[in-house]
Amino acid sequence: MLSAPLVLAASFAYLLLLFGVAHFADARGRSGRSVIGNAWIYTLSMGVYCTAWTYFGSVGRAASSGLWFLPIYLGPTLAMLLAWPVLRKMIRIARQYRITSIADFIASRYGKSRALAALVTVIALVGILPYVALQLKAISSGYALLTATPGEAHGGGPWWRDSTLYFALALAGFTIAFGTRHLDTSERHEGMVAAIALESVVKLLAFIAVGVFVCWGLFDSPGEIFARAAARADLKPLLGLGGESRFTGGQWFALTLLAMLSVIFLPRQFQVMVVENVDERHVKRASWAFPLYLLLINLFVLPIALGGLLHFGPGGADPDTFVLSLPLALDQPALALVAFIGGLSAATGMIIVEAIAVSTMVSNDLVMPLLLRRRQGTRDLSGTPLAVRRVVIVALLLLGYLYFRIAGEAYALVSIGLISFAAVAQFAPALLGGMFWKGGTRAGALAGLGAGFALWTYTLMLPSIAKSGWLPTAFMRDGLFGLALLRPEQLFGLTGLDSLSHALLWSLLVNAGLYVVVSLARAPTAGEAGQALLFVDVFERSGTGAAAAPVFWRGRASVAGLQQLAARFLGAEAAQRLFANVARQRGVDQIERIAADAQLVQHVETQLAGAIGSASAHAVVAGVVDEEPLAPADILRMLDEASQVRAQNRQLESLDKLKDDFMSSVTHELRTPLTSIRAFAELMRDDPAMDSEQRQQFVALIVAEAERLSRLVNQVLDMAKIESGHGDWRNEAIDLRELIAHALQTTREAFRERGAEVAVEQPDAVPLLHADRDRLLQVLLNLLSNAAKFVPPGRGRVVIKLSSDARAATIEVRDNGPGIAPDQQQYVFEKFRQGGDAANRPQGTGLGLPISRQIVEHFGGRMWLQSVPGQGACFGFDLPWHHEQTAS
C-alpha cells in the first residue's frame, strides 16, 4: 500500500522528467547538436509499440492462455527482419514528397485524393480513440491498485477528483509543447523522440526489475517456477501452446500477420519510424535491434504470469495487474512504484505519439479542407494548422477520457487492442500495393478501404459493442434482417474461426480483392499515373538535384500568386525565405525574376504539403494556378524528358570532371619546368661569383627546361585541337617509304649522339596512303625519339619495320631498351603518364604518345605496345588504305 500523494508526486515527477528531457533535446537540436541522430535512439523510439496494453496485458494473456501473448511480438520481429527494405522505401518516399502521416501517404499516392485522406483519417480515428482510452484506464487502475482506492478504477468518484483526468491534460500539454512547436515538418520533433526513447528504456527496465524480483526474490529461480507450474494440472497447459484455447495454426497466423501489419501502419509507428526518421541507414540496425528489444521485454512475461498464479492461487488476483500486485503483496512498495512508473511510461508514450500523429491527420485531412471551403480568399491562415492541431490533441485526450469513464469495464474496451490492429491493417493493400504496383487507382483504393472498413465494423466492432451490452445481440445470433448468412461472426457461413481471424480474413480478402479488381477496371488517370511513378520508382527518381526529378505538371502560374499562397499558410516571413532560397538556387537576383515553371509550382506545393497535407496543398495550389489537364501519354513523355535531362546532366558533370583533371595535370606539368628555370636563375643571381663551369651547366639546364616548356605548350594546344575536333587535317597521297626516310633523317643526330644503330625493314614498294603527311611524320618522330631516349647508351639498336597487306599498312618501331613493366603498359597512352624509371627518365611531356594515338585513330588505325621487360619495347600502328572520313 502506498500513499496517494506519494504515487501522484512520483508520477508527476516522472512527467516533469519527460518535459526536461524533451526540452533539452529540442534545445540541442536547435543548436545543431542533435541527440537523436543515431540508430539506437531510433530503435528505442520504435519501442512505443509496447503500450500499457502489452505492459500489463501480456502477463494477463499469458496467465490465461500460455504462449498466446507471443504473436503480438513475433509479428513485428518478422516484419523488421524481413520487410525493412519496405520501411526504407516508405521513408524515402515520405522524405521526398514531404509526407507527414499515413493518410497523407495513401492519399498522395492516388493522385492526392482528399476523399482517400479523409477515409484513412476516419478509420485511424475510430480505431485509435478506444485505444487511447485503454491507456488511461491502465494508468487509472494501476493507480487505484497502488493506493487501494478501488472506487476510482471504475470511474466512481466525481470527475474533478479523478487524477486520470489531470494526467490526460498534462499529456495533452506535453504533446502540444513538443509536438506542435513548428509547422515546417522537415524539422522533426526532436524533444518528443528523445522523451519516447527514454520511456522505452524506463518501461523495459521496470518490467525486467519485476521479472528479476519474481524469479529470484519470490522464487529461487525461473526453473523452480516452471517446475512447480508443470506439477499443477491447472497450470501445466500454460507452458505450451494450449491454455484455454487449443493451438490452431490459423489463429496464430492471423495474429502474427496482424501484428506484422500494425507495427508499420499504426499511426504512432508511422510517426516514429517514417516521419521522425533522421537517416535511412538507421533502419538497418533497427531491423535487428528492435526485435532484440521485444525479446527482452517479453523474457519475463511467462515467469511473472506463472509466479502470480502460483502465489495468489487461481482467481486470487487479476492477472492483468500481477506486475503491480506481486510486489505489493510481498511488501515491496518501492518496486511496485517502479513497476507503476514503467506502466505509466508505456501508456504516456503511446498517447503522446498517437496524439501527434492523429492530430496531424485530423487537422490536415478533415478540418483544413472544411475551413478552406468556407474561407476562400487571401486571409492569413499561417497560424491555423497549428492551432487546429492543438485543439484536436486536447479533444482527442478528453474524448479518450470520456470513453474510459463511460465504457471503462466493457468488453469493447478490453479487447480494443486487437480490434485497433485490425482497423489499421486495412491500410495494407492500398499502401503496399501503391508502393510496388503502378496500376493501383484512387477508385480501387477507395473501394478496397471502404469495404474493408465496413466489414471490420460489421464483423468486429459491432459485435464487440453488442457484447458490451449496448446493442441487442439478436443480429449476432440470427444475422442482420434474420438472414443467417449475415451473422457477423460467421459471415456467409464461414465457421470454425475465432472472431478476430474471421474478421481479418473477410475484411482483408474483400479489401485487397476490390482494390485490385476496381483498379484494373480502368486505366490510371494522368494524376494517378504520375504519382504512381514517383512512388514505385522512388529510388530511381529521387536524386540530389531537385531538377532531376520529373514534374508532372503543365500550365501557367505567377510567382506573386504562389508567394501570396505560401505566405497565407506558412507566414509571410517563411514564404519570403522560401522564395529567396529558390532565387538563389536558380541564380537570379530578384524573386520576381524566378521563372514560374512547373518546378516552382511543384516546389511550393511540396512545401505546403508539409504544413497542410498533400491533398489540401494540391487543392489550394490548383486554386491559384492555371493548370492544363494532362493525359497519361503526357506523363510518359514528361518522364522521358526528365530522364534525358538527367542523363545529359550526368554527361556534363563527367565532362567537367575530365576537364578539371586535365587542367590540374597541365598546371602541374607547366610548373615543373618553371620551377627548375626559376631556381637556376635565382641561384645565379644570388651568386655572382659562381664559377663559369657551374654557370654553363645551369644555363644549359634553363635552356633545356624552356624548350620542354614550349614543347608542352604546343602539345597541349595540339591535343586540345584534336580532342575538340577542330584539328586542321589535310588529305594527301603519302609514300610511307619516303616518310620513314624523312623521319630517320630528322632523328639521325639523336641516334648518333646516343651511339645507337637504326635498321629499316620494308618492302620495295607500298601503295600510296591518303592522310595528313605532317601529322604522320609527327607520330613517327615521336616513336623514334622515344626509342632514342630509352636505348642503352653505346649499344642501342632500333628497328623500323614497314609491312602492308590488302587492308592496311603497318609500321613498328622496336628498341632494345629496358622495356615497360606489364602493369605500366596500360598507362603509356594516357595523358601525363610517362613511362620509364623516374631517375633517368628523359624529359618528355607525357603527351607525345596520347597525341600520336589520337592521330592514328583519326585515320582509322590502331596503335599498340608490345613489351617484355628487359627485352625492349615495340610500338606499332596500322593505317587502313581506305577508311570512312570522320566528321572532323
Binding site: S664, T667, H668, R671, T672, T675, R678, A679, F680
Partner: protein
C-alpha cells in the same frame, strides 16, 4: 652548423637546383628519387630535414609524411612539403598530416632557404 637534409623529388633538374642551394647553405645532402627510397632513407639516416615532393612515383609525399609522423622515433625529422599543385586542399592536407611547412612550386630560392633556416633553428 651543418645539418643533414634529404631531398626527395623525382625531377632531376629540380634535385640539382635544390642540392646546390642546400649545399650552399652548408648542409649535407642526400637524394631520394621516389617515395619508397625517401622513406627508407629517412628511417635509416634520420635526416634533420626532408624537402618532400608531393607527386612522386611509388609512395606519394603525403604517404611518406604520414608514415614518418606515425613513427615516434622519427619525431625530430622536420618535413617541408613541396608541391606543383598549389591547391588549398593540398596545403590543408599537408599540415593535417603533420608537415612542418608547405611551399608551392615554383618557389623562390630565398624564401625556401629562409624557411629551411627557420625550421632547422639555432639549435
Amino acid at each position: 652548423m651543418s645539418k643533414h637534409v634529404l631531398i626527395a623529388d623525382d625531377e632531376p633538374n629540380i634535385v640539382i637546383s635544390l642540392e646546390f642551394l642546400m649545399k650552399r647553405e652548408g648542409h649535407r645532402v642526400t637524394v631520394a628519387r621516389d617515395g619508397d627510397a625517401a622513406l627508407d632513407t629517412i628511417r635509416r639516416e634520420r635526416p634533420d630535414l626532408v624537402l618532400l615532393d608531393v607527386m612522386m612515383p611509388g609512395k606519394s609525399g603525403f604517404e611518406v609524411c604520414q608514415a614518418v609522423r606515425a613513427d615516434e622515433a622519427l619525431a625530430a625529422v622536420k618535413i617541408l612539403m613541396l608541391s606543383a599543385k598549389g591547391r588549398d586542399t593540398d596545403l590543408a592536407k599537408g599540415s593535417a598530416l603533420g608537415a612542418d611547412a608547405y611551399m608551392t612550386k615554383p618557389f623562390s630560392t630565398r624564401e625556401l632557404a629562409d624557411k629551411v633556416r627557420e625550421l632547422l633553428g639555432p639549435a
